[in-house]
């Protein structure tokens, strides 16, 4: 019998967890498809209120002996017994027992005799004319016991009352039936099997499910191709630079790398010889994988044309130079030179010789494609997550065990679980703790 566990956050702000028996996640009895089907069959979500004692006190009260009185008659030279009757009040517990807004109901138990004192109870009775009664009550100042007694033919001995008091003010442990649970489909299914509970911590991530007695799974990130802004994630295969084939083609793999202003690279940035589709990085334990092609960078050469102004301020053609690596615009950008339009027509920019101080108008007049310089791919990284290695193998008390199995519900687009539980937060203990069940706080 498989088990199904639901965890969800309700709009009331509470997290709810429910565990059910299910069949196989695909049939009519599968609760994943609609976890609300049977939620109210569980008494935790009953619309009834449960009895709850709000406070309890224990103590001992000594009630004194009660003796009949006597009346002497000198005339008749005799003394006769007369009844003694009265009442006494004892404070058992100070406190305001009406402040909650609910009138208190007090239940007292005589823990010596195990009798309940919950009305006017007879504590002692001797013959037909000697009796002691007790009543308990509570108000804004405390809990009291009222003793009423009547003694005539006998002396009532002292009475030691060992008591325990339960005070019920607001007994309600009630779940609003109208909002018992609302769960966004988010489930995993478990079969019997070894439940390895020493997972350290659990991380929730969508899109992963385990099957059978699988002891590990591969966690994979999404694919990224980010080469703008500060952090780069990309996979670039470079085979040529400016029409010249690289002696050794390179694959540049970056993940959260950062190109500093001075040209140095921070973060994960490797240049691997050759064209590859997968690469394991021993430094971080991840395997980086090449994804779909994002863009192709073509290599080109450019022809620049140079003009200068003569004494009559006429533009004079000076020369054309082919084979330039960059267009004039790219050259200005790369050299961090201001783009100042200058020349016989548009598309020409001012370039000043650092040695002579003479200014020229330079424009790009031709571009020749020289082949593919680089192929830019998306990249992701994967990691094998073991679920049983070095785990304690703690099992439930009934010996039944759990493995994660099957895809959640078929209809659930929500999260399955995966266990990023490799991190044992118990340190290097030779014997990991047992009976540790995992939990999660949904925020």
């Amino acid at each position: 019998m498989s088990k199904t566990i639901f965890i969800g956050k309700h709009t009331d702000g509470n997290n709810y967890t429910a565990v059910y028996s299910g069949t196989n996640g695909t049939g009519a009895a599968d609760l994943i498809a609609n976890p609300l089907n049977r939620i109210n069959e569980v008494d935790f979500h009953s619309s009834f209120a449960y009895l709850k004692s709000n406070s309890g006190y224990s103590g001992t009260l000594s009630l004194p002996a009660r003796s009949p009185g006597s009346s002497s008659s000198k005339k008749k030279n005799r003394t006769v017994a007369v009844p003694a009757y009265g009442a006494a009040t004892y404070l058992l517990q100070s406190g305001n027992f009406t402040s909650s807004g609910y009138p208190p109901i007090v239940v007292m138990v005589d823990t010596t005799s195990n009798r309940t004192i919950a009305g006017t109870s007879v504590l002692q009775q001797i013959g037909g004319d000697t009796i002691r009664q007790a009543t308990v009550r509570a108000d804004a100042s405390g809990i009291y016991l009222d003793e009423t007694y009547f003694a005539y033919g006998n002396t009532m001995p002292a009475y030691t009352l060992n008591y325990k008091i339960y005070v019920i003010t607001n007994p309600s442990e009630q779940t609003d039936v109208g909002k018992a649970v609302t769960i966004t489909p988010s489930a995993f299914k478990c079969n019997n099997g070894t439940f390895n509970s020493d997972l350290g911590y659990v991380k929730v991530k969508s899109g992963v499910s385990l099957s059978g007695s699988q002891t590990s799974y591969v966690e994979a990130t999404n694919y990224y191709y980010e080469n703008k802004y500060s952090l780069h994630r990309h996979w670039i295969y470079r085979s040529q630079t400016q029409t010249a084939t690289l002696p050794t083609p390179l694959t540049d793999i970056t993940w959260d790398s950062y190109l500093r202003y001075d040209g140095t690279e921070e973060g994960m940035h490797y240049s691997i010889p050759g064209d590859t589709t997968s690469w394991y990085n021993p430094d971080d334990g991840y395997t980086y994988e090449r994804g779909p092609l994002a863009e192709t960078i073509m290599d080109s050469t450019y022809t620049w044309s140079w003009y200068y102004q003569n004494a009559k301020l006429a533009w004079v053609h000076a020369k054309d130079v082919a084979g330039m690596e960059l267009s004039i615009l790219d050259h200005l950008k790369k050299s961090n030179i201001a783009q100042v339009p200058y020349g016989p027509t548009g598309g020409y920019y001012k370039v000043t010789s650092a040695s002579t101080g003479k200014s020229y108008a330079v424009g790009t007049i031709a571009q020749v494609s020289g082949g593919v310089a680089a192929l830019c791919y998306y990249v992701r990284r994967t990691r094998v997550m073991n679920t049983t290695t070095n785990r304690s193998g703690a099992s439930f008390a009934n010996g039944k065990t759990i493995n994660v199995t099957a895809t959640p519900g078929g209809t659930s687009a929500g999260a399955a679980w995966n266990f990023d539980g490799i991190k044992n937060e118990y340190g290097d203990q030779a014997t990991p703790p047992t009976n540790t069940i995992f939990g999660i706080n949904l925020i």
């Binding site: 028996s21 935790f44 009834f48 009138p103 109901i105 239940v107 308990v136 108000d139 008390a397």
Partner: protein, 181 residues
Amino acid sequence: MSFITQPGRIFVNDSNSITKFDSNAPHPVIYSRIQGSVTFNSTVTTTIFTSPTREGSFVETRSNSNGINSIQTIYTAPAGVNIDFCLSSFRLTSTTATGTPTSYYYWRMPANSWVSANGSILVDQSVNSTGKLERASIATIYAANNTVVFEMTRTAFNDDASGTQSYTFEYNVLACKVKEV
């Protein structure tokens, strides 16, 4: 500790496989909280005695308290609901009761304090100088036939004060049923 589920049932076992909680075990639940007040009156019957004497006759008026033997229904459960028991408390909010005219000792429960009323409560008693109990009043709240009633009894006394004596109580009742799962 094991947290175990079955269809419609949850139970928790400790490390020795002893069930510490089982939602299938019968348990009391509160069906309704009942609050309100009731008043009971002890009416008086007046009897006039005319006695002849040598100087004529005189008239003597005696008042007899008729006592109280009253049951007031304070809650009726809706159809299909069985009330098994109730937990209650009440307090005496006002009264005109006094001791008997010949009382030597009169005791009455303190007012405005919530008395645990899960049995019968002694409300007041009046004792004469010979020790004879001349009058006593008892109040009880209990569940019967899917109703909750407030019952009060007060013994009659045939030479009592002349005015009607009344008791007003405020009650707080939890009507409970045992949920059979």
